[in-house]
Each structure stands twice: as structure tokens, then as C-alpha cells.
């Protein structure tokens, strides 16, 4: 549907004569100049409104969808969440809620071209997160929920992988990471001594491994540092991994932990 901006104020048409035409021209020019400069006092009217059910999202998908609240609370309250078609989360007045932040919004696909139209990534994985300041989200990669780039170095990346079930368990996967870093597998004592950190409602095993990183895609980073966290939920395992040159990764410890702490499960997930 063709839409148009609110028009310039109407100018009364003069009755006749050259003087009248000149006045009209000047008036139109003046109105155009006034409308183009500075803060306009014109208020654009919001003319479209509609009634929607408030028991769920305004539209689009809802119900048992992982990314959406089953039933949003009726009525609004400061700090609460309106049923606006978005997942229920804590909102703060005027500042918006904790942002969805991140994911790969439709990256690498044209919905009408038959490719994937990925919804927000928490829809895909049941996870939500906040991207640390200065980090940016990279294009979608296979088998990864999200890939984040903390800086400009292409060898430094942080990504989240979710696998069904135990996926071999934390021990075997950490040993696999040790292998990627050229380090020997952990002993029982070393594994038991690894710190645990609450993530997604369970204790995640944290690990730091230094060495020469050899990635599965053939990438290689000398003097690398790997920061990782592995946790096992009832139906899936979540792996968070930050790897790159040691000199670049060491200053990112706090950001990495903040990112891990920001992971949360979408309602219903």
C-alpha cells in the first residue's frame, strides 16, 4: 500500500493575478524551508490502532513455542513484560528489558530463496545471551549456536555449541580440547580440581588450557589459550569455548565469564 508522509501545511490559494502566484510560490518555498530545518514542531499523528487479545503475543507464533511465553501475564506492571509477542523476561522501565542481543539474524540466508530463515537464535537453541561490549556476532556457522568475535583477530573466537544428550560428557570433551591444544589429557585429580561455575542452573566445568591450538578446520595458533565451559542439562550439553593467541585471550577472561553468566534458557526450552 502506497504511503505518504504527512503533507506540508496547506496554503490558501490566492484568487488571481501574478502577485497572487508569487505569494503562493513564496509561501510554498518558506514552508519547504521551515519543514527542512531544525526541530519541526509538527506532530505526526498516529492514526492506526487495533485491538488484539492480550492473553498471548499480539500475533506471530505463540503457544508452546520455545521462544515465546506460553501465556503472558494479563496487564502490565513496571519492570514486567507486556505480552508483545516476545518472550517473557524482566523489563526495566524506559530502558527496555535485558536485550536479546546476538545470534545470527538471518545471516547467510534469503528466506524467499528457499534457504533457512533462522528465527532469533534462542528459538533455535533454547538459549539467550548478552554479547559483551566490543564483541560482535559473526556469521552463522554449522553446528554452532553463535560465534562471537572479541576483536579484529580472525584467530580469536568464542562460540557456543549445543549437542543432544550428554555428548560424551564433560571429561571426554575437555580431553578432546586438550588434544586440540597439544596438551596431554587431564588426570582424574586434575579434572576433579577444575573450578565449577553455576550456568543455566547447573554447575559447569571450567577449564583453561594453554598450548598450540590446531582447529578442526585446519587453523593453527601458536602460543594459544583456550577458555572453556562445559555443562550438561537433562536433554543436552552446552559447550562454550574461547580460543585464540594467549596475549589476546588473557585480557578477555572477565568478558568470557560475563558471557557465560549471561546464558539463559528461553522459557519453555
Amino acid at each position: 500500500m502506497a504511503r505518504s508522509h504527512v503533507p506540508l501545511p496547506l496554503v490558501p490559494r490566492p484568487r488571481s493575478g501574478h502577485a497572487g502566484r508569487h505569494q503562493l510560490l513564496l509561501a510554498v518555498l518558506a514552508a519547504g524551508l521551515l519543514s527542512a530545518c531544525g526541530e519541526s514542531s509538527e506532530v505526526r499523528a498516529i492514526t492506526v490502532s487495533r485491538l488484539v487479545p492480550s492473553g498471548g503475543p499480539a500475533g506471530t507464533a505463540h503457544g508452546s513455542h520455545a521462544a515465546h511465553a506460553a501465556k503472558a501475564p494479563g496487564g502490565l506492571s513496571p519492570g514486567a513484560v507486556a505480552a508483545g509477542g516476545e518472550p517473557v523476561a524482566g523489563g526495566r522501565p524506559f530502558a527496555g528489558a535485558a536485550p536479546f542481543a546476538g545470534g545470527a539474524p538471518f545471516a547467510g540466508s534469503a528466506p524467499l530463496a528457499g534457504g533457512v530463515t533462522p528465527p532469533p537464535s534462542h528459538l533455535a537453541s533454547g538459549l539467550g545471551w548478552s554479547v559483551p561490549a566490543g564483541w560482535r556476532t559473526a556469521a552463522e556457522r554449522p553446528m554452532r549456536v553463535v560465534t562471537l568475535l572479541p576483536g579484529d583477530d580472525p584467530d580469536t573466537e568464542c562460540y557456543v555449541t549445543v549437542l543432544a544428550g550428554a555428548a560424551g560428557g564433560a571429561r571426554s570433551n575437555i580431553d578432546r580440547w586438550c588434544g586440540q591444544m597439544g596438551a596431554p589429557p587431564l588426570t582424574d585429580e586434575a579434572f576433579a580440581a577444575l573450578p565449577r561455575r553455576p550456568m543455566l542452573g547447573v554447575d559447569a566445568v571450567q577449564v583453561e588450557i594453554a598450548g598450540h591450538f590446531s582447529g578442526m578446520q585446519g587453523s593453527s595458533v601458536a602460543d594459544a589459550l583456550l577458555l572453556g565451559a562445559v555443562l550438561t542439562l537433562p536433554d543436552r550439553s552446552v559447550f562454550v569455548k574461547l580460543v585464540g593467541p594467549r596475549r589476546l585471550v588473557e585480557p578477555l577472561r572477565a568478558d568470557f565469564l560475563a558471557f557465560c553468566d549471561s546464558l539463559e534458557l528461553a522459557p519453555g526450552a
Binding site: 490502532s49 487479545p53 528457499g114 553446528m143
Partner: protein, 389 residues
Amino acid sequence: MSSSRWITAPLRLLSSVGLALTLILLLALLTWLGTLAQVEHGLYEVQRRYFESWFVLERVAGLPLPLPGGQTVMGLLFLNLLVGGLWRLRGRKGRLGILVTHAGIAGLLVAGFVKLSFAQDGHITFTEGGSADAFESYLRWELVVARDLGDGTRREWLVPEEDFLDAMPGAPVTLGAPELPFQLQVQQVMRHCMRLPKGPMFEVDVPVVDGWFLSEEPRLTEAEAEVAGAYLSVVDLSEGVRRPCLLWGRDRAPTTLRMAGADWSLSLRKERYPLPFTIVLDDFTKQDHPRTGMPRSFSSDVTVVEGGVERPVRIEMNQPLRSSGLVLYQASWGPQGAPPGTPLFSTLAVVRNPSDSWPLLCCLVIAAGLLLHFGARLARWVGREAATR
């Protein structure tokens, strides 16, 4: 020049074959330029710039080259067909078929214009068990002010993107409605940005609202992947107090505020179009080619609930659902590469196009016109041959 020539001269020009050829060549040129530009700018931007415009300023070797836009060319082509058909073929017997063919081609152009002006397209993305009563635009944004009325309904005030996208620092846009106790002053809109927390280790040159700011990102070639954001102030009309606000297109919850004894919410979201029915995804099926991960086919078994009546429908590739002026196609699914057992989502592309069936009708008209014309010529030739023998 006699007064009649003032009328006939433009009509001759408008109906000329030379004009038609020029317009077709211009259309080919726009298509070529648009194809080249799409590599860098994406489909949506190219469509908007080259084909949904009246005028294009192209640059060739650094020099500006003004060209008529797609709407201008196709509009003139429509007039050329119309006037050409009516004017040049007037009073000539045996040209009815050509006239009918012209009408069919003109109808195709009209169908395109109607789609451009009045169509709505978007998508529904849901998992099994999910339902939808609206579809969402791929590209268009809207500002939404909402208030729960407490009776199971919510009133939404909707601001289409044309009314706020042009806001910029120093030239804000003020929005208001008689029912609202406040006005929204949109100060800045970013077409693609990230909402980030402001930390102590760096400074930003944009406003920080409650510890968050919008970081503008480079535009994407795939416009549907962009996430818009906006800085605005909520101006209390009774107290004159301005409250800064930040909205982001991927916020998981709207911004809430209390004003004039009522609770309001603000959000920036993709434009939504209500459906005249509710659609429930009962089952999504994906079949892969044997021993590969490549999808062979995928389909959605849905239930359409309309007027209290439920009917099951299967939507699959090349078999869309047509209902109430809408067409729902099985467009895609995801997440790709997910481990077995991961819940899959189905995406249905939805189009509301008043001229959806017009191209088919116009093609039938064209075929009829060609049959009529060549059939008449064949009949005349047969008649002449019979007469000479």
C-alpha cells in the same frame, strides 16, 4: 500547427513502436545495472532503487548518468501499450487479436503495479504445537505503543516506518495520538545495530540509556537480517517531563512505563499483519535424500481455524495454502545442521496480493489474443488459397 495536431502528435509519439523499443531497452539496462548492484547492495535495496523508483542516478566512470526508474519506464510502457492498441489499431479490421494481446500485456503491468502498491508479504515461523494469528514482514518495521485494557484485550497504536525512519539527530520526529497522554520524540533511528551494555573501559558517542547503548553496524546485503534500533524520548504531556528510551528490534520484551495511571509498553518490531484465521502447526516433516543431510522435501501439516471451523491442510513445496486472499508457501525450516532430536521450526512465506491471480488471467488473455490474430490470418490465407484454385 492546427489544434488537432496538438492532440494527435503526442498520441502518435506515445503509441510509437520506437518508444516501446526504447522503453524495453531501458528496462533491460535497469535489469543489468540492478543485477550488478545486487552483489554489493542486496536484493531489497536494488529493487527499491532501480525498480520501485521514478528516477535513478547511476554513476558511470564517476560521472552521473540520470535514468528513468522502473516505475517510470513501466508506466510509460503501459501507456504505450494502451494508446498503441487503441490509437494505432483503431478502425482496422482484423486487428482485434492484437488489441486483445495488448490488453493482456497491459494487464500484466497493472498487476505488477497493484502488487507493488497494495501487497503485503512476510512470514510465519513456528515449531510444532505453535500457532499464529498474524504474519510478520521480512523488512518493514513499526513502532508499537500498547496498553492492556484489562478485559483480555490490548490496544496497540502502530507507527509505520515511513513516519519515523527519517528521524535523525537534530531533526527528531514527534509522534502523538489524542488517546495517548504522551508524545514520542524519535531522535535517531539506526537501520542495523546492536544493543550493548556500556562498560567503564570505553566511551561511546551515542546516548547511553540505563547502561545500554545502540552500536550502529554496517548495512547488510540481506536486508531482512538487519535489526533496527531507535533512541526516543517519551514526553509526558501533563508534566512536560522527558524520559529517554532506547528500543531495539530484537529486545526480548517491550519497554514498559506508567503514565496517567495506566501501564504502557513501547516496542520496535517487524511490521505485523493480522490473519483472518489462526494457523496451528501440527507436524513438520523433513525428508532427506538417502544417506545425505540434504533436504529432499519438507512440509507442514497445519490446522486452519476460521470462524470456529477447523480444517487440516498440508502445505508443502509447490502446494501452497490459499485462503481469504492470502497465499502461504512452505518457504524454509531450521535450524540447519541441528543434532537429531532438536525441535525444528517451519517458516511459511505469506503473501497478501490483490493481484495474485491476475498474471494467470492476463496470460490467458494474451494467448487468446494471439490465437485470435493468427487464427484470423490463417483463415484469410486459407480462404485466398481456396479462391485461387
